[in-house]
């Protein structure tokens, strides 16, 4: 029972656009599985996901174009299921199975 919970995974759809996809193998849509809880046994949050993406999904070495001072780079919008993450508690939002999380850069050409 305990091991089942530990092995439980959340399925999350992560999308990148506005030029951010270039940091993620030029692929806009990634379906990933992450643990339900972090190393402290707490439900995983968007902050966890961001770190996970940097460690496991990003192939590009220019991490600072995505994360700056351990926060999402200013100028990148985050939408959780189409709603601005500011409405959902930003990094602290606890990820649910099947969530769609979109990162859009606003920094590229007009």
């Amino acid at each position: 029972m305990v091991t089942a919970t530990e092995n439980a995974q959340l399925r999350v759809v992560v999308e990148f656009s506005g030029g951010l996809e270039m940091l993620f193998s030029d692929q806009k849509r990634h379906v990933i599985s992450i643990p339900t809880t972090d190393e402290n046994g707490k439900p995983v949050t968007v902050a966890y996901l961001i770190e996970y993406l940097c460690k496991n999904v990003m192939k590009d070495s220019r991490k600072e174009l995505f994360v700056l001072d351990s926060q999402i780079r200013p100028g990148i919008l985050v939408l959780i299921n189409d709603a601005d993450w500011e409405l959902e508690g930003e990094e602290k939002y606890a990820i649910q199975n099947g969530d769609n999380i979109l990162f859009v850069s606003t920094l590229h050409g007009g």
């Binding site: 656009s17 200013p74 100028g75 299921n81 709603a83 606003t106 050409g109």
Partner: protein, 381 residues
């Protein structure tokens, strides 16, 4: 389940409509060219203007006007986006190429002068190209996708430069007037960049979001970053800067404002147009300003190193009365020395070579071309 998208779209459109109607940007039957780069701002501008034109019966004749700088793998791709927009929005599209206007593509320019400083060429050429393209179409009004973040950035740059005269012009929604050939306006002046990106997302608009291949370094360290950081702490900071810029513009001494207007009615338009165009890559002025900002920072550091801080420190320690006295002394001097540098040359005429309106005998584009053409034989041999 979620309707924030639909609600957001209609609020955004209402806001742009409010900007357009309250500043009387258009008149019924006006032919308007939308400066279209295929990027998010101009794509959103085209979409919103089409929507509002139909919804509120502006009676506008809208045309897409694109500049082909001749950058393979960048502009040819983004032009595909514009062509698709033209079909979707049922708007005629006019593409004006640097090669046909100047005999040079940006690829050739970079081949000749290298990547350093090529944004200057691109910016100077683009400014004229938009005007010339509009003239070819018999259109006297070009709208651009400059957003609130762009305007705030320009205001900050002018503030940091101490360029009050330009600050006052850069805040204005319309540049140019009836006497100038082509006027420019920015209907998205009060729209946050964030809103523009969200609008494009919710309306599923296709836009091109690749950085210009010749200005990769401009991505970091700019007035842009400062603005984005401010926005994070206080989201309204951007529009607050725009409003502050407008208020400061009103406070600019009459003689400073006059000293540009009295040299000819068109002068302010020309200067403001320069502001729009200089170094503007990917049609947003954010990128070039990054370099400018870095250059200025460097200069400031050098000044600091050269002069030391003693003068400032001693000034700080002067009694109030004495400080006031000193201010009275120094301010006019500063005014006299700074203003002629910016405004003194603005006597409007036409370029001797190409006939384009210019404050110099030979316009900037022709000056740059002269240098390029001198170098061409060497390169081709």
């Amino acid at each position: 389940m979620h309707t924030p998208g639909r609600c957001f779209i209609s609020i955004f459109e209402d806001e742009v409509h409010h900007t357009i109607s309250s500043s009387k940007l258009f008149f019924p039957g006006e032919k308007v060219a939308i400066g279209a780069s295929g990027g998010k701002d101009s794509t959103v501008l085209a979409s919103v203007l089409k929507t509002l034109n139909e919804r509120h019966n502006y009676g506008l004749d809208l045309v897409l006007l694109s500049i082909d700088e001749g950058i393979k793998g960048y502009r040819d791709d983004s032009l595909e986006t514009v062509k698709w927009n033209a079909i979707q929005y049922e708007m005629p599209l006019k593409v004006v190429g640097y090669d046909e206007l100047y005999g040079w593509t940006m690829d050739q320019v970079v081949e000749t002068i290298g990547k350093k400083g090529n944004c200057t060429y691109c910016g100077v050429f683009r400014r004229q190209a938009l005007d010339r393209g509009a003239k070819m179409l018999g259109i006297k009004h070009v709208v651009t996708g400059h957003n609130a973040d762009d305007v705030a950035e320009t205001i900050l740059m002018n503030l940091l430069r101490g360029d009050l005269a330009r600050l006052s012009r850069s805040t204005s929604i319309v540049t140019g007037d009836a006497t100038s050939d082509v006027k420019r306006s920015k209907p998205l002046k009060y729209s946050y960049e964030k809103e523009i990106v969200l609008y494009a997302y919710h309306k599923k608009l296709d836009y091109f979001s690749t950085e210009c291949i010749y200005s990769p370094e401009a991505f970091r360290g700019s007035a842009r970053s400062l603005i984005k950081n401010l926005e994070r702490v206080r989201p309204t900071a951007i529009l607050d800067i725009v409003r502050s810029g407008e208020d400061m513009a009103r406070l600019v001494p009459v003689n400073t404002a006059k000293s540009c207007a009295c040299k000819g009615d068109v002068a302010p338009a020309v200067v403001a147009a320069e502001e729009d165009g200089l170094g503007g890559c990917g049609s947003s002025n954010g990128r070039s300003s990054g370099n400018e900002m870095a250059a200025m920072e460097k200069q400031l550091r050098q000044n600091e190193a050269a002069e030391g801080l003693e003068v400032d420190v001693s000034k700080q320690m002067l009694p109030q009365a004495q400080r006031d006295k000193e201010n009275v002394k120094t301010l006019p001097i500063r005014g006299v020395s700074a203003n002629p540098k910016i405004l003194g040359k603005q006597t409007l005429g036409n370029c001797e070579r190409c006939g384009y309106m210019s404050s110099q005998a030979i316009c900037q584009a022709c000056m740059l071309l002269e240098g390029l053409n001198k170098n061409r034989p060497q390169i081709q041999i």
